[in-house]
């Protein structure tokens, strides 16, 4: 699912709280646009020295050796996410993710994270529509300990009512922060709810607030017992460890857990889309308008093969950096936008998404941006892409694949995410080859399949409350020129 619906146990590291931080050529611009920060990231990358084996209980284990620093990362992915919630229980997967830190008989009283911290490690977790992931990074000598602890909570979770109730307040605070008090968060939630008419991707991973209030201990335990099993998980160990070591450690931890029957995931299908949808959210706190459109797209696993690689290339051609087509045309030449982004996310079980977004200059007009993007799309559909655009984009993606190796947890996340939605290790390793063979006609065909009107899409526009497409120039401070005297 789209990364925007990824919900962390605590996403608020200092830099997250304060947003800007570390500009990558004005990364602060990225916070204007959903998907912008992932636009140029490869969905995965080649050549991780990965080795895979499966325990007798069905747990798939992957080891990615990286001996740069004496540290390891452990990530476990369960095939259960927001879209697996029973009716009326939206948010239960994410709630359980939080509750997984509460305790077991051998690691009681919320001691999980404290133990990790005491050992000099860091830990966290996140939930998406399709899966739930838990991870730790720590010095290599503690690998056995964290594998024991993660295996332990796969089966021995204990929940007390008091803990469940206070944690429910925590996730409601999380919702206030990420959605209720953030107009962009509210618009994003509405866009997903509108893009999907029937499929459960329409429900927020965090949950609707009224349903969150009704989430109980029994709901969390039922979800836990239904989905958390070794045969429904993927374990990835990355860093300064060998496959032989991990094999022995896994046998003594996860290997002791029995497989259990896990029901098939039953997801509703989308009906044909009859109408394009358009959402406008106005809010007094908004000063910078943004425009965004999300198209339903194939997943990586959908036929025909090669389509998803073509969509990766298409996104890169359209908005992969300052030399990309939309950036050049809309930002540099026509000056209708200060930033644009395009991203394809096909790492989903049921439906992928292709997202375009743009921010007009302060006080500028989102309608003009939209018309320009629509023009670009029709030119793309009729004329396709040039050979030089194609080869430049492919070269950038190939380099990104090499750079993706320069990280401890990054490769673990890429591998785990792919495997948990049903891709194979070979799919990951051959991604650069699949990119390399994409031709201009493939890109145009993929663009046709996803972007051609009346493609199933939803357009979302975030606007200041009182500005009707009229340029309001900033006078003193950024808010001073706005009508209504709203205090920024």
């Amino acid at each position: 699912m789209a990364q925007s619906s990824e919900i962390c146990l605590v996403c608020l590291t200092m830099s997250h709280v304060n947003r800007p931080g570390w500009p990558r050529r004005f990364a602060a611009l990225a916070l204007l646009l959903v998907g912008a920060s992932i636009a140029a990231a490869p969905a995965r990358a080649e050549l991780f020295a990965a080795e895979s084996f499966t325990l007798a209980n069905g747990l798939q284990v992957v080891v990615i050796e990286n001996h740069r620093s004496p540290v390891v990362a452990q990530m476990i992915f369960y095939r259960a996410g927001g879209a697996d919630a029973p009716a009326g229980k939206s948010g239960i997967a994410h709630f359980l993710e939080h509750l997984m830190f509460k305790g077991t008989p051998s690691v009681p009283d919320g001691d999980f994270s404290r133990r990790i911290s005491r050992l000099g490690g860091a830990d966290n977790a996140y939930t998406t529509q399709d899966y739930t992931a838990f991870y730790q990074t720590i010095a290599r000598q503690h690998l056995a300990t964290i594998m024991q602890m993660e295996a332990d909570r796969m089966t021995h979770l204990i929940l007390r009512d008091s803990e469940v109730l206070s944690e429910r307040d925590v996730i409601i605070e999380e919702r206030r922060q990420r959605v209720d008090d953030d107009p962009a968060g509210r618009l994003d939630e509405m866009m997903q709810a509108t893009l999907f008419v029937n499929h459960p991707y329409r429900l927020p991973v965090l949950g609707w607030e009224h349903e969150m209030h009704g989430l109980e201990r029994a709901d969390a335990l039922a979800f836990y017992r239904r989905w958390y099993a070794p045969n429904n998980a993927v374990l990835v160990i990355a860093g300064d460890a060998t496959a032989a070591e991990v094999k022995a450690l896994a046998a003594n931890s996860y290997g002791l857990i029995a497989a259990r029957p896990v029901p098939p995931r039953q997801r509703l299908r989308e009906p044909p889309a009859y109408a394009q949808r358009r959402l406008i959210l106005r809010d007094p706190s908004v000063q910078q308008a943004t425009w965004q459109r999300i198209y339903l797209a194939p997943t990586e696993r959908d036929k025909p093969a090669g389509q998803s690689a073509a969509l990766d290339v298409l996104a890169e051609i359209l908005a992969g950096g300052p030399t990309s087509r939309l950036y050049r045309h809309l930002v540099v030449e026509q000056r209708l936008a200060v930033d644009v982004s395009a991203s394809y996310d096909g790492l989903a079980l049921d439906y992928g998404q292709f997202t375009l977004s743009a921010a007009p200059p302060f006080g500028g007009d989102t309608d003009k941006v939209e018309r320009a993007i629509d023009d670009e799309i029709s030119i793309l559909l009729t004329k396709g892409v040039s050979e030089s655009e194609l080869s430049d984009a492919k070269a950038r993606l190939a380099a990104a694949a090499v750079k993706a190796r320069d990280s401890l947890r990054g490769p673990a996340e890429i591998v785990g995410t792919n495997l948990v939605i049903g891709n194979s290790l070979a799919d990951i390793q051959t991604w650069p080859e699949r990119i390399a063979v994409v031709g201009a006609d493939d890109v145009q065909r993929a663009a046709f399949a996803v972007l051609r009107p009346p493609a199933s899409s939803v357009t979302g526009i975030l606007l200041p409350e009182h500005v009707d497409g009229i340029a309001a120039q900033p006078a003193e401070g950024p808010g001073a020129g706005l009508p209504g005297g709203a205090t920024p």
């Binding site: 000099g120 860091a122 206070s166 307040d169 605070e173 209720d180 070269a395 320069d406």
Partner: protein, 445 residues
């Protein structure tokens, strides 16, 4: 706030000591006398470089606030005989990552390249630092980008609270000004100002360089000369006055329609070169900096469900030091949460940490350090952080010892020195129930 906390993150790089690749680390002095710290690592065909200059946006002239930040967006928009499009095309074709960042006290550039394009990457960095063009069209475009970022932040509660917090704590000092400037100051900045900025700020006396990856010391030495030798020997003065927060504690409220109030809190902190720094860092880890394990997390999040997150940190600027934190809670709980923070602060002052808390904080801060070296980019940032903090290269080996040497008696003494519930200032943005402000709220631009 983005600044003060970005600064924490940066300072953290400097003190989360190292037990990692000390053996592979070396000081490279080029034939021409340029120094860089290097970790050779040939596991991937990649090189990351971080270059920092002392002197950041706090030096922006009055009326031209945002100068350093704007410059950080323009250095890769054309240099030498390459205009913006040609420069960007070259970066893209060669898959070179480039970015510049202005902080309060420093200006940092980062470059990452595949080994095969190493020489071109260094040449482009050289051009960007010595001959930035600042052509009219990119200047106009980037200025508009900054205006949009400012507008977005002006609608973002976290950003608003962060800026107001600096006003409340460091009023009148350049640190309290908006780092990105505003519409008026940005309009006042000319291409000439930006070119002068580069000429005045990028002096070799203020320059520090860290390199990690697929390159040998001899190769790096030659590139250092080629890239940085013709920078001016000296930068313009970077002198600034010292500043501290007012001693009087209290609460300032900025009314705003939010479901969840954002609360920032803190008082005077401790400088990086203070002998009590290591004890203070341990105390902060215990009280609120240690993420899930901290006392405040436990009290406000785990036990009572009042917040999604609460964090504290030592803000260590070159001329100011704060101990500050932040949380968000529904308007009805603000009074209770403030009360809890005050009580916990008092408890830390009165009794200090327990022996086991201190031991846990030591293993945490010592143990997590190697995680800061798990990619070439992070490792280069970590090294540069040590250099900019003025610490010696063997700090990397000695850091763990500095933390280990802190006794329980030291920690208790420093807790009394540092934690002061009476002096705590709270800034609340929201509609808190039953909370009366007794401090004058800082104005919002």
């Amino acid at each position: 706030m983005n600044r003060s906390f970005a600064t924490i993150a940066f300072a953290a790089l400097a003190w989360l000591g190292l037990c990692a690749p000390a053996a592979a680390m070396e000081r490279v002095i080029s034939p021409g006398g340029i120094e860089a710290w290097l970790i050779e690592d040939h596991s991937n065909p990649l090189i990351s470089l971080a270059i920092g200059f002392h002197g950041g946006s706090a030096l922006d002239p009055v009326g031209k606030e945002g100068l350093a930040y704007l410059a950080s967006g323009l250095l890769d928009e054309g240099a030498g005989n390459l205009d913006s499009a040609a420069f960007q095309a070259k970066l893209a074709d060669l898959a070179i990552d480039f970015n510049f960042e202005a902080d309060d006290d420093s200006f940092v550039g980062r470059m990452r390249t595949l080994t095969g394009h190493r020489d071109e990457a260094f040449d482009l960095l050289h051009l960007a630092l010595t001959r930035p063009r600042i052509d009219a069209a990119p200047l106009d475009r980037v200025r508009n980008q900054v205006l949009s970022i400012i507008a977005a932040e002006a609608g973002d509660p976290g950003s608003i609270a962060g800026q107001a917090w600096l006003r409340l704590m460091l009023d009148g000092h350049p640190y309290s000004r908006p780092l990105k400037g505003d519409a008026k100051t940005l309009a006042a900045i000319t291409a000439r100002d930006l070119r002068e900025f580069a000429a005045k700020r990028f002096g070799r006396d203020q320059m520090r360089i860290a390199v990690v990856g697929d390159i040998s010391a001899a190769e790096l030495g030659l590139l250092l000369d080629r890239s940085f030798r013709d920078l001016p020997a000296k930068a313009a003065s970077i002198a600034l006055p010292e500043v501290g927060p007012p001693a009087k504690g209290g609460i300032a409220v900025i009314a705003r329609d939010l479901d969840q109030s954002i609360v920032l809190f803190g008082h005077a902190g401790i400088k990086r070169d203070d002998p009590d720094f290591y004890a203070a860092a341990l105390l902060d880890d215990i009280e609120g900096g240690g993420n899930f394990a901290s006392r405040l997390q436990r009290s406000l999040r785990e036990k009572r469900g009042l917040v999604y997150s609460i964090d504290t940190g030592l803000v260590m600027l070159d001329h100011a030091a704060l101990l500050s934190g932040r949380f968000g809670t529904k308007n009805a709980s603000v009074a209770q949460a403030i009360q809890l923070v005050r009580a916990d602060w008092q408890r830390m002052r009165d009794a200090g940490p327990t022996a086991s808390e201190l031991a846990d904080a030591k293993t945490h801060l010592i143990g997590e350090y190697p995680l800061r070296f798990d990619s070439t980019r992070k490792a280069a940032d970590s090294l540069l952080g040590i250099e900019l903090a003025g610490l010696p290269m063997d700090y990397v080996d000695k850091r763990a010892g500095h933390f280990d040497a802190v006794t329980l008696a030291d920690a208790k003494r420093v807790a009394k020195r540092l934690y002061d519930a009476q002096a705590l200032r709270f800034l609340v943005l929201g509609r808190p129930a039953g909370v009366a402000g007794d401090l004058v709220s800082p104005p919002i631009d």
